[in-house]
């Protein structure tokens, strides 16, 4: 036996005062009484046993000295050689991914079961063993570093909360191996349900012990859910849904789609065993908001029966037509469902905010700020010089990649006349004639966008072609800057970069006083950093709507300490992870589970010495001191 702290032997010197006090103690306290006649009656009946009477004080001294010696030895922290040879280093990886939310009974989840297993490992730790805990959900992290202190480990284990994210088992195992380092008796213990990729391969690793959690359970899940605005229809949108049946039996369910609380569609589904159902829905609505997909399924993992997406709202676009009268232009704008139409004969002093001004023939010089549609210009402006007319221009080349020319073909359109323009600055030619004269072009100015169509609408058949309303619709969409065409719904665990240039007030962009916050669906918040108008959020560890917001310090609300919260953007996050939703076991119980069990109850020698010491002092108290306590 060896001693960690041999200097503690000096505490044995306390035996000297104990012996001195013992000698002093046997000189009895003298108590005067008025009469001893009553005491005689008690003690004359019971004569003390002489041997015990003689030895009792000596035995008391011996018990006290034994108590002191046991304490002294405990302070020296004795240990055996085998303790050093067999010391272990365990790193327990606790899976707290979304699949661990699955219920194993009415109350407990798979994570609760995993914690119970881990607690058993902690309780079995031997003295000098070290253990660390790593959480493997969404983002692997060391919950508790290497320590042998069981209370610390248990407290740290209690802080592990289940996430909705995927199991990052590879990263967790890498982290684990770094913690184990080259320790001779190092072992990684994975406490997981195995709902992740390549679980069977990882089971084969020699340095890993698997503790499988949970039992086989059927599950139906939404594995994909996205929505986007239609590229063709200004008020249309498309929904992508994938539903999978993770069971060995066929299943029936119903999929319900809701937009901002209103039912959009209900689809009955029949899914084969291990079946997959996939569909894209075309719907129309100018409204935006939260699009919710719900499965009517009662399984052990309700989380993946719901998915969310954000549908951008289509806002009305004010259009002011400045013309002496052109029925084609009037009708084409009125045909657009999102246009709020107005007419004027004379040019306005300024362009309405967020709107578009369409000038026909007479163009103000210089051009006003804002988004402009110029049709059939007859005079020069600050952006172009006017030239002569082009007779019978035939469109020979058009920019197919430009969003302004989507679904537009002008090569067969009869256009008897157009105006030749010489653009002064940078511009994009969308359509040009055989003579390389631009007929349709776009100009991006710092103070607004401009689209110029030089064709004479009064002649030719362009206004009668389907291309004409499409051109106008494309132009209006271009002016609207196509915001939110696709607001991607992220899978849990994802890290996303969000552009906030258009959502944040210009005065706040780059301002140091801007305090951007990310609010999770479960109410947590964390600060966000803004760089060049973009911010990075994630890893997203909860399903639901994540909100980006800032505090408006320019407004003070009475009776409130914090300024009001201004929401900037929303991001939908769903599990949509087939590996997490598949609750059927992927790994078998390990055969070497007994290696985790440690002997002797996991207590050091000093602990047993102290227990023995207190047993002795308890005996001494029972025999000698108890009667002094009334």
């Amino acid at each position: 036996m060896n001693f960690t702290n041999p200097t503690s032997w000096m505490w044995a010197a306390l035996a000297i005062p104990i012996v001195i006090f013992y000698i002093l103690k046997i000189r009895l306290r003298r108590v005067p009484v008025s009469t001893v006649m009553f005491w005689h009656q008690i003690f004359e009946e019971k004569q003390p046993r002489s041997i015990w009477q003689k030895l009792r004080h000596l035995l008391s001294l011996l018990l006290q000295l034994a108590f002191l010696m046991l304490l002294t030895i405990a302070l020296t922290d004795p240990f055996f050689d085998w303790e050093i040879r067999e010391v272990r280093r365990l790193v327990v990886v606790v899976d707290n991914s979304g699949s661990m939310r699955a219920l194993v009974d009415d109350e407990d989840t798979r994570l609760d079961e995993a914690k119970d297993e881990t607690l058993a490992i902690i309780d079995s730790l031997r003295p000098r063993d070290e253990m660390a805990i790593v959480a493997a959900g969404t983002q692997p992290r060391v919950v508790c570093g290497l320590t042998g202190h069981q209370r610390t480990l248990k407290d740290a284990l209690g802080t592990i909360d289940v996430t909705d994210g995927p199991t990052r088992i590879k990263e967790a195992i890498e982290l684990t191996r770094r913690l184990i380092s080259d320790h001779e008796n190092g072992k990684a213990v994975i406490v997981s349900d195995g709902s992740f990729e390549n679980s069977e391969e990882l089971v084969q690793a020699d340095d890993i012990v698997w503790l499988p959690i949970g039992e086989e359970s059927d599950n139906i899940a939404i594995t994909q859910f996205q929505v986007r605005r239609s590229l063709v229809d200004p008020v249309g949108y498309q929904i992508l849904v994938e539903v999978r049946n993770f069971a060995d039996e066929p299943a029936e369910t119903r999929l319900e789609l809701e937009l901002a609380g209103n039912v959009v569609d209900v689809i009955p589904l029949k899914l084969e065993a291990d079946g997959r159902w996939f569909q894209v829905f075309e719907k129309t609505s100018p409204d935006g908001g939260e699009l919710l997909a719900k499965l009517e399924a009662e399984d052990t993992l309700p989380m993946d029966n719901v998915a969310r997406a954000i549908l951008p709202e289509r806002k009305k676009q004010p259009v002011l037509l400045v013309s002496e009268g052109n029925v084609f232009l009037e009708r084409v704008f009125q045909a657009c469902p999102l246009v709020e139409m107005a007419f004027r004969n004379d040019p306005p002093s300024k362009v309405p905010a967020g709107g578009v001004v369409a000038y026909h023939k007479k163009i103000p010089n210089p051009l006003p700020d804002g988004d402009l549609i110029i049709v059939q210009p007859e005079n020069a402006t600050d952006l172009w010089n006017i030239g002569d007319t082009i007779e019978n221009p035939i469109v020979a080349k058009q920019d197919k990649d430009s969003p302004l020319m989507s679904f537009v073909r002008l090569d067969n359109v009869l256009m008897p006349e157009a105006r030749r323009l010489t653009i002064k600055g940078e511009h994009a030619v969308l359509a040009q004639s055989l003579t390389d004269d631009p007929i349709y072009m776009s100009i991006e100015r710092p103070n607004g966008r401009v689209v110029v169509l030089t064709v004479n609408l009064d002649q030719g058949d362009l206004p009668l072609r389907t291309a004409f309303p499409i051109m106008v619709s494309n132009a209006l969409s271009w002016f609207a800057r196509n915001q939110g065409e696709l607001r991607e719904s992220f899978a849990t665990g994802a890290v996303a970069e969000i552009d906030l240039n258009d959502q944040l007030p210009a005065s706040l962009l780059g301002s140091e006083s801007l305090e951007l916050e990310l609010h999770s669906p479960d109410g947590r918040k964390r600060p966000l950093a803004l760089r060049n108008g973009t911010t990075t959020i994630g890893p997203l560890d909860r399903c639901g709507l994540w909100r980006v917001a800032y505090r408006d310090f320019t407004v003070t609300v009475p009776d409130k300490e914090e300024p009001p919260l201004v929401m900037v953007d929303e991001v939908a996050c769903n599990l949509t992870n087939p590996d997490e939703s598949d609750l059927r076991p992927a790994i078998e119980p390990p055969e070497d589970a007994e290696t985790l069990a440690a002997g002797l109850g996991g207590r050091p020698v000093w602990f047993y010495l102290i227990v023995l010491a207190f047993c002795l002092i308890g005996t001494e108290w029972f025999l000698y001191q108890r009667r002094f306590i009334s």
């Binding site: 003298r30 001893v36 003690f43």
Partner: protein
């Protein structure tokens, strides 16, 4: 002014005297009518006239009606002799305050009440024998000398021996009367025999037993040397909770035996601990006596 007989004590004495008169209306201790007929004022009966009788006591009304010479007889009033037997053994100096102090205050107070009622009072200080005497006296004026006597008393002698005291006490040439025993009654030979002798010689024993709370509830445990302050004997003991419990039971039985003795022979008995002031103790006695009558 002494410590035990201060001005407050004297005020309380007067108060107690008034209370006792109110309660007994002239029937306490003295002012008792004896069976002896004589020169009192209260009519008793008639007897025939014999030559030589005093003519003043002839009942002339009866002679006029019945023509018989009958002599009126009157009941003679007699003062009571009160003997206070005060225990001065060392056991009486035990406690805080000492039992002896309270015993002397009670003795003084009783004496004052008796003297105020025109009775005669004597005090006998005893331990294993008679230590000191204060002879019979009469009149309130003697109370100061009595208090001086009590104040000068010191605990002395060895263990209490009530039998020895009573034996010498009854052989004194004196009238019978009230014998008030103020003691803790820690007589190794038993208190009963002494009181029996008193009763047999037509004394009327009254017992005032005093004890200290520390005697009824010992506050020590463990290994100790028990020292008897009367005898000086030392005994090594290991006192346990169980022993304490047994002790309390024995002590309670002892107090109960005193009460039972007095009750069975119709004697007055007052058992009190030293935390009760003397005036409360006496008031209790007066009330008890008033109720009994």
């Amino acid at each position: 002014m002494s410590k035990i007989f201060d001005s407050d004590f004297l005020n309380k004495l007067e108060y107690l005297s008034l209370i006792s008169r109110r309660v007994f209306r002239g029937q306490l201790m003295a002012q008792r009518r004896t069976m002896q007929l004589g020169g009192g004022i209260e009519f008793a009966d008639h007897r025939e006239y014999t030559p030589g009788d005093d003519f003043r006591y002839l009942d002339w009304n009866l002679y006029a009606r019945h023509d018989e010479l009958l002599l009126k007889r009157f009941q003679e009033e007699e003062d009571l002799h009160v003997y206070i037997l005060l225990d001065c053994s060392h056991s009486m100096e035990f406690g805080k305050p000492a039992k002896f102090d309270l015993a002397r205050q009670v003795a003084a107070a009783l004496s004052y009440i008796a003297l105020a009622d025109l009775d005669r009072v004597a005090v006998v200080a005893f331990a294993d024998r008679v230590i000191q005497d204060f002879p019979l006296m009469r009149g309130k004026a003697r109370i100061l000398s009595l208090m001086k006597f009590l104040e000068d008393l010191k605990p002395t002698g060895s263990a209490t021996n009530l039998t020895e005291l009573v034996t010498s006490f009854i052989h004194r040439p004196q009238r019978r009367g009230l014998a008030v025993v103020i003691s803790d009654l820690y007589d190794p030979n038993g208190f009963q025999r002494g009181l029996d002798i008193l009763r047999h010689h037509r004394y009327e024993p009254n017992v005032i037993q005093l004890y200290d709370p520390a005697e009824s509830e010992p506050g020590f445990l463990g290994d100790i040397e028990l020292q008897d302050i009367e005898s000086g004997n030392i005994r090594k003991l290991t006192v346990t909770e169980k022993n304490i419990k047994e002790y309390k039971q024995i002590f309670e039985n002892f107090l109960e035996s005193v009460r039972n003795y007095c009750s069975s022979y119709g004697s007055s008995c007052t058992v009190s601990h030293t935390q009760i002031p003397f005036d409360e103790l006496l008031l209790g006695m007066i009330r008890q006596a008033g109720t009994v009558r």
